[in-house]
């Protein structure tokens, strides 16, 4: 009888460990995937910038400085190594882009160009997608970290070598202000 009870407790214990372990693995995969989603959007931003710069170069010749900063920030971001470095350099790029958008607003002939507004919409959307992808990543990473840290799941997380995921921090303070520019197509 006692043996049966002990056996029962053991079985329940093993089942619990399996469920917890699988839950953590699922979360870890979601975190990895969330991180990749950010990368996809960053890559898309890098691809879009040369197009936009080439399109507006002729009209915005008095703003070579602003354009130059965007181009430089882009190549710096593309050459970044490691997550921390990338975060800082992408932040600089975001900053340069938002200044560029503000300057662009002063050129009515740019706004009326269909090609430019198309590119601008794509870039605005990509900016949004980057920040939403980060937001989602942070949410899922927080869930993952909490799942590892609460008792008694922390015993499993520790013995199976789960590590807490790093959260995305905003490197440049001005970054949050990007959407302040009204980029609506309706005027």
């Amino acid at each position: 009888m006692v043996a049966l009870i002990v056996l029962g407790i053991l079985v329940v214990g093993v089942l619990w460990v399996i469920v917890q372990y699988n839950g953590l693995v699922t979360l870890r995969n979601q975190v990895t995937n969330g991180w990749k989603q950010i990368d996809v959007q960053l890559k898309r931003r890098h691809d879009l910038i040369p197009n936009l710069v080439n399109t507006v170069k002729g009209i915005m010749e008095f703003e070579q400085d602003t354009l130059q900063k965007v181009v430089e920030a882009r190549s710096a971001a593309m050459g970044a190594r490691g997550a921390k470095d990338a975060a800082a350099k992408e932040g600089v790029l975001t900053d340069a882009l938002s200044k560029f958008f503000v300057v662009m607003e002063q050129y009515p002939q740019l706004r009326s160009s269909e090609n430019v507004s198309k590119l601008q919409e794509e870039l605005t959307s990509t900016e949004n997608k980057i920040s939403f992808a980060r937001q989602f990543y942070n949410d899922i990473a927080t869930t993952f970290n909490t799942a590892q840290q609460v008792f008694p799941a922390n015993l499993i997380a520790g013995s199976f070598g789960f590590k807490p995921a790093e959260l995305f921090e905003i490197a440049v303070a001005a970054e949050r202000e990007v959407p302040a520019v009204n980029l609506s197509l309706k005027k």
């Binding site: 969330g34 989603q37 794509e122 959307s125 949004n128 992808a133 937001q135 980029l183 609506s184 309706k186």
Partner: protein, 343 residues
């Protein structure tokens, strides 16, 4: 209530609603069996009972109509859950938006839906456009893997990017909370009840004289009469009750979708300003039929009911009063503003 509790509650409610509808269908069918075919559920042999004796048509021993109604009800429920979204979309004349479109407005719409897809971590829903000048939107489908979001042309034309994002976030929350499953099933079932009770009512008027009059003059059992009255009341009231149920289920979900939509965009002011614009545009949405009103972001019938609160208004409105929704969102925006909106 968190997301998982909400999803669980919606799964449970879907089952309850489907069960209630099926029982109701069975009840309608049973009435047919008793009053038209002379079936007596309390007798072991059909002809040996009290109130069917002497009726011109001898009673039958098998509840044919009940079984048919049960099958019809279950079939309707299954079909509604599985294909209800298509019916709802085609009833609204919704056209799919091509993913390679070059139209700037449609491009922007697709971009915004994709942004919200990323923010919510869900699969990309299908995007539809309704050729209607009144701003409105709805989401439908059985689950997030088979979800569709439809917006009217008026919505795209009248709202700016930020506001459109707020509306799409609201719809995406309906998808994520599994509201769409419940709402789509209800839409299909409400349609079924209206159809069936219409049918029952018509046959009552034209073909139903025979068995009722014969029974009334002969045995006229009291229990039978009460049942008949109850049955007729049920047939008459069914469409109204079904609508009220659909509305009640819808209303509580709107506040929640507003709040979790704001959580996705981190910008409650966008949705608040969108709702203001939608509200001032009070013309009814022509393309959206009565049966699907509860799916939309704003009451498509343009009813003034949306402004009042109280028992009757609550009973008849599919949506909570617009000023309340807006002020709740503005409160959120106020609380969020002094800090960086990022988590």
């Amino acid at each position: 209530m968190n997301l998982y509790e909400q999803q669980k509650a919606n799964r449970k409610n879907t089952v309850v609603v489907v069960a209630v509808f099926i029982v109701f269908f069975a009840f309608l069918g049973l009435g047919f069996d008793i009053f038209y075919f002379g079936f007596n559920p309390w007798a072991s042999g059909a002809a040996s009972n009290g109130f069917d004796e002497g009726a011109p048509a001898p009673g039958i021993g098998f509840p044919v109509a009940t079984v048919i109604a049960l099958l019809f009800g279950s079939g309707q429920a299954w079909w509604g859950m599985r294909f209800g979204d298509r019916a709802v979309l085609s009833a609204a004349n919704a056209m799919p938006v091509d993913s390679s479109t070059t139209d700037p407005q449609q491009r922007q719409l697709l971009n915004i839906v994709e942004e919200m897809k990323i923010a919510s971590g869900l699969p990309m829903p299908k995007v539809y456009m309704i050729p209607d000048a009144d701003p409105n939107a709805f989401a439908t489908g059985a689950d997030p893997q088979h979800a569709s979001i439809a917006v009217t042309r008026g919505l795209i034309e009248k709202l700016n990017r930020e506001e459109l994002q707020g509306v799409i976030a609201h719809e995406m929350s309906h998808v994520r909370n599994l509201d769409i499953r419940l709402m789509t099933t209800i839409a299909a079932l409400v349609g079924g009840v209206v159809l069936l009770s219409d049918w029952a009512g018509r046959s009552m008027r034209f073909g139903g004289g025979r068995s009722r009059s014969s029974r009334g003059s002969k045995s006229g059992g009291g229990a039978g009469m009460i049942l008949l009255v109850l049955w007729i009341i049920a047939v008459v009231l069914a469409p109204i009750l079904a609508q009220i149920l659909a509305m009640a289920v819808s209303r509580q979900r709107e506040y929640l979708a507003d709040a979790s939509g704001a959580e996705l965009t981190r910008n409650p002011a966008g949705l608040a300003s969108a709702l203001k614009k939608i509200e001032t545009d009070y013309s009814p949405t022509q393309s959206i039929k009565k049966g699907t009103a509860h799916l939309c972001i704003a009451d498509p019938l343009g009813r003034k009911m949306g402004l009042r609160e109280g028992f009757w208004a609550d009973l008849l409105a599919t949506h909570p009063p617009m000023p309340h929704r807006i002020s709740k969102l503005m409160q959120m925006a106020y609380q969020a503003s002094p800090h960086p909106l990022n988590s």
